[in-house]
């Protein structure tokens, strides 16, 4: 029977080797799936709650997926694409921002829990020998507690119960009554609202995307002007100029249209810019941007 342990060891070694090979191959191959999917799964959809760009069905996520696909098609690596998004939108665009500051909590709390629970388990497994309190300090009371204590307990409990009810009643008075749902939201208004939020966060590219979404549903000059402003701030002077020109084709004297067009022309066709901006000043001398434009023209 001497062969049995040897055979057992042999089988074990063979199984371990095969399993190691399987693990190694699997680990090496894990990264070879769709690169677009793997990048977008790590990006947070800015218009949704807790969904990744890969899973969200919102238009802005679709736009971001397209942006990732474009960059991957241009031969950028995953890390490059990720870095590009972080540079543009800040680290919060990542679904898992790198742990720093408050985010350390996400790791510290589980680690402390593991330690504390592990310590408690150790205590349960290896209890310290008891010295002084080998006997229970007070034998557990049996039967109802003696009269005086019971009456006190009764009074306090009844009082506590009533306090709970009264505090709920009082707290409820201070509440806003839950309002009935507001009138159905207009999807265009939602898109414009989202875009404004994005603008407030200096994310003009994403804002422009949302304005384009809104425009597709409602070709409105106010939205087009906002799009033009967002494009201008995002650095797309050509796009901003086009949008402003479209507005001006309907309303040749739109002050905002002239303003954006002029500012865009300063980058695309510097020769025409002063003329457009001067026209802006004549059309809207009271415009809040007018003093700034006067200064610009004077400096030129």
């Amino acid at each position: 029977m001497r062969w049995r342990p040897a055979a057992g060891t042999l089988v074990l070694v063979a199984l371990l080797a095969a399993a190691a090979a399987g693990l190694a191959r699997s680990a090496a191959g894990a990264g070879q799936d769709d690169p677009v999917r793997s990048v977008t799964a790590d990006l947070r959809c800015p218009a949704c709650q807790g969904e990744s760009v890969a899973d969200s069905r919102s238009p802005i996520a679709a736009a971001m997926r397209q942006a990732v696909a474009d960059q991957v098609a241009q031969g950028h690596s995953r890390d490059e694409v990720r870095r590009w998004f972080v540079q543009r939108y800040g680290p919060d665009v990542l679904a898992d921002p790198p742990a720093r500051g408050v985010e350390l909590l996400l790791w510290a709390v589980p680690a402390l829990t593991l330690l504390a629970a592990g310590y408690a388990a150790r205590r349960t497994l290896r209890p310290r020998p008891r010295r002084t309190d080998d006997l229970p300090a007070a034998p557990p009371a049996d039967g109802p507690p003696p009269g005086g204590a019971a009456r006190r307990a009764w009074r306090w409990s009844a009082l506590g119960l009533i306090t709970v009810v009264v505090s709920v009643a009082v707290a409820a008075r201070g509440l806003d009554r839950p309002r009935p749902d507001p009138a159905p939201a207009d999807p265009v208004a939602v898109a414009v609202g989202l875009a404004r939020d994005l603008e407030a966060q200096d994310r003009y590219d994403a804002a422009a995307q949302m304005y384009r979404e809104a425009l597709r549903d409602r070709p409105d000059d106010t939205i087009r002007l906002r799009l033009a402003f967002a494009l201008l701030r995002a650095g797309d002077a050509t796009g901003a100029g086009q949008a402003a020109q479209e507005v001006l084709s309907h309303a040749p004297d739109s002050p905002d249209g002239l303003l954006v067009l002029g500012l865009a022309q300063r980058r695309t066709r510097p020769a025409e810019a002063p003329r457009t901006l001067r026209r802006f000043l004549t059309v809207a001398p009271e415009h809040p941007a007018a003093p700034e434009i006067t200064r610009l023209l004077a400096a030129a």
Binding site: L12, L15, A18, A19, A21, G22, L23, R25, S26, A27, A30, R37, A41, D42, R44, C48, Q49, G50, E51, S52, D55, A62, D92, A95, D96, P97, G101, V102, E103, L105, L106, L114, A117, A120, A121, T124, L125, P127, P140, G143, P144, A150, R151, A153, W154, S157, L161, I162, V164, V165, S167, V168, A171, A172, R173, L175, P178, D181, P184, D186
Partner: protein, 644 residues
């Protein structure tokens, strides 16, 4: 009319609940007769039932003068979803919560448990009932009058009108959630009830098993609903609402194991876990029902937050004081061997508690990071994948090792683990070499193989012995292992693609392809757009599938209706994302999700195992026979019990 009836039933209910709590307190403190207390308990259940019935009647009769109906009812809503809209928004679901809670109270009052322990436990349950009645009465009454009365309502949230699981999932989840009040009540009652308190574990475990089985089924149905309705092809998004249901499940699972066997050795663990489970239920209710944490499916936003939070704190304080006050002394103060079931159960407890900590901090992080100076962001699935999943695999491993430790003899244990270990290694080798699922999925496959082989090895032994509860435990564990295989398989081998197709074009994923035949619009109730598709798998005959987009004007939302083709080994899942204005093209997402069926099967097995175990425990108890109390006053019974 109905509104006034409902309001008065809530008011009477609040009075009844308060009276119930006080009467049970008299039973506990002075040994007063239990009959009035039982009657008051039953009366509380009756008022909760009347309140639910009145609201249901108002929904069915489209009585829009009742606020809840005006906000959640609608004439166009199908009958089934009108019935289920009782729990489709906060105020109505609070009534269902009350009904279930009062139901548990009546069941608990009706069982023959040690009398003082039972009385104190009933005080705790009734106090919880009082709080929720007060909440429903003062802060979230669904019965307030609406003036002027609207002609029609918007109907419940469109996502809640799409899947038949809506009728079962919330009630089951509530039965699970609220059932955890029973172990909580017993844990608080144990230190108060003196010597009787020592039996609390034996008494509380079957109740916990029932609640746990319902919670498991509820979570499983929730995942199924999410898979079938939300249209992104997944079943678990680590969303706050999902996490809130997972948290008590984790601690209750740990409790069920620490309460096994010589549970008195782990007295502290049992008390803390039993209390934590219900506190997490309350915390979850606070998180998801107060609008504190944004979620894909936290449908309600309400101002109940501060009150619920206050009650969570009250529960924490009460459980800390009561359980810390007089911890029942520990039996068997001897160190157990390192390789023993006791160790395994504690390791399992430590890991489950740590997973719960991961899920909890991930869920409340957005609440904490703002005030602490961070950016208010939610935590993405990546965090949980890196933290909770490895821990879960270790839990699975511990699950496979534990049964082998029965004898405590090391060589015996190793011999028992040899075959499962070999099968696990072989699985890893074969699966890893043939396909490349990635490390997490591969280790999950290996561990699941380990567990399943071990369980199969125990099957003959367990069948031979009479205890049916043991078989139920085995089934529950097998279910968990199957869920692990389903999760790993669907995340590792799932493939999807998304593209805009013109009519006649084809989208292909692996060997599955769909061809766009055309787009239909139906204008009757709005606005449903369907994409007619032909789907073919590995060159088989084509089948017609029609995913759709439904627009609900009353709520201004568009809802996708994915077309899911369920197979034995894999599902094909087609979602219509958008349609061009001229109907000439449609944006589609085609996903192939392998092994998803195992998730549902595993979840069902786990829940069934839990239920079977509860039934077996109850039957065993009945066979052994508990002393019948008869109609004598509790105090006499206590004395008699103490004497005998």
């Amino acid at each position: 009319m109905l509104g006034e009836l409902g309001t008065s039933s809530l008011t009477v209910g609040l009075l009844c609940a308060t009276l119930t709590a006080l009467l049970w307190l008299r039973v506990a403190l002075f040994g007063a007769p239990t009959r009035p207390a039982r009657l008051a308990t039953a009366a509380t259940l009756a008022t909760a039932a009347v309140a639910c019935g009145v609201l249901e009647a108002a929904l069915l009769r489209h009585d829009f003068s009742v606020r809840f109906v005006a906000e959640n009812g609608g004439r166009r809503v199908p009958l089934y979803y009108t019935v289920t809209s009782l729990w489709s928004a906060l105020d109505g679901s609070l009534l269902l919560w009350l009904l279930v809670l009062a139901g548990y109270a009546v069941l608990l009052a009706g069982r023959r448990h040690p009398p003082r322990l039972q009385a104190y436990a009933m005080v705790v349950v009734s106090a919880v009932t009082v709080f929720f009645f007060a909440l429903s009465c003062f802060a979230a009454s669904p019965f307030r009058a609406v003036d002027p009365v609207p002609p029609d309502g918007p109907g419940p949230n469109p996502l809640l009108q799409q899947h038949p699981a809506m009728g079962v999932h919330p009630p089951l989840l509530y039965v699970g959630y609220i059932g955890l009040v029973v172990p909580f009540a017993f844990a608080l009652a144990a230190p108060l009830a003196g010597r009787e308190g020592r039996s609390w574990l034996r008494v509380a475990r079957p109740w916990t098993l029932v609640a746990w089985a319902a919670l498991t089924a509820g979570i499983g149905l929730g995942a199924w609903w999410s898979y079938a309705v939300l249209g992104w092809g997944g079943y678990w998004a680590w969303d706050p609402v999902e996490n809130a249901s997972l948290l008590p499940w984790l601690t209750a699972t740990a409790f069920l194991h620490t309460a096994l066997g010589p549970g008195a050795r782990r007295a502290g663990w049992n008390l803390v876990l039993a209390c934590a489970s219900f506190v997490l239920v309350l915390l979850g209710t606070f998180l998801t029902r107060s609008g504190a944490v944004a979620s894909v499916h936290a449908f309600t936003e309400s101002p109940l937050g501060p009150m619920l939070l206050g009650f969570v704190l009250l529960a924490v304080v009460a459980s800390t004081i009561l359980t810390g006050w007089r911890t029942p002394e520990l039996a068997g103060r001897t160190a157990s061997p390192v390789l023993s079931r006791n160790t395994a159960v504690l390791v399992n407890g430590v890991l489950l508690v740590t997973i719960a900590a991961v899920v909890l901090i991930g869920t409340i992080f957005p609440l904490l990071s703002g005030p602490l100076g961070g950016v208010r962001t939610s935590v993405g699935p990546g965090y949980y994948h890196r933290t909770a999943l490895p821990l879960a695999i270790v839990v699975l491993l511990a699950m496979g090792v534990t049964p082998a430790l029965r004898v405590g003899d090391r060589t015996q244990a190793l011999r028992r683990l040899a075959v499962p270990g070999a099968v696990a290694l072989a699985t890893v080798a074969v699966v890893g070499l043939l396909s490349r699922p990635g490390l997490p999925a591969l280790s999950a496959f290996g561990t699941a193989a380990f567990v399943l082989t071990g369980l199969a090895g125990q099957l003959p032994d367990r069948l031979r012995r009479s205890g049916r509860g043991r078989l139920a435990g085995l089934v529950a564990h097998a279910g968990i292992a199957l869920v692990a295989v389903g999760v790993a398989g669907s995340s590792a081998y799932g493939r999807d693609a998304e593209r805009t197709l013109r009519t006649g074009e084809t989208l292909r994923v692996a060997d599955v392809s769909v061809r766009l035949v055309g787009v239909d619009r139906r204008g009757d109730s709005g606005m449903a757009v369907r994409a007619r598709l032909r789907l073919s798998e590995s060159g088989d005959a084509e089948r017609a599938v029609t995913p759709a987009l439904r627009y609900h004007p009353a709520r201004d939302t568009a809802v996708t209706v994915p077309a899911i083709d369920t197979g034995l080994l894999r599902d094909t899942y087609v979602t219509l994302i958008a349609v061009s204005p001229d109907d000439g093209s449609a944006t589609l997402r085609l996903a192939v999700n392998p092994l998803v069926g195992l998730l549902w099967a595993g979840g069902a097995l786990t829940a069934a195992g839990g239920l079977g175990s509860a039934l077996a425990t109850a039957r065993r108890r009945r066979r052994v026979g508990t002393p019948r109390e008869g109609a004598q006053p509790a105090s006499v019974a206590v004395r008699a019990g103490a004497a005998g």
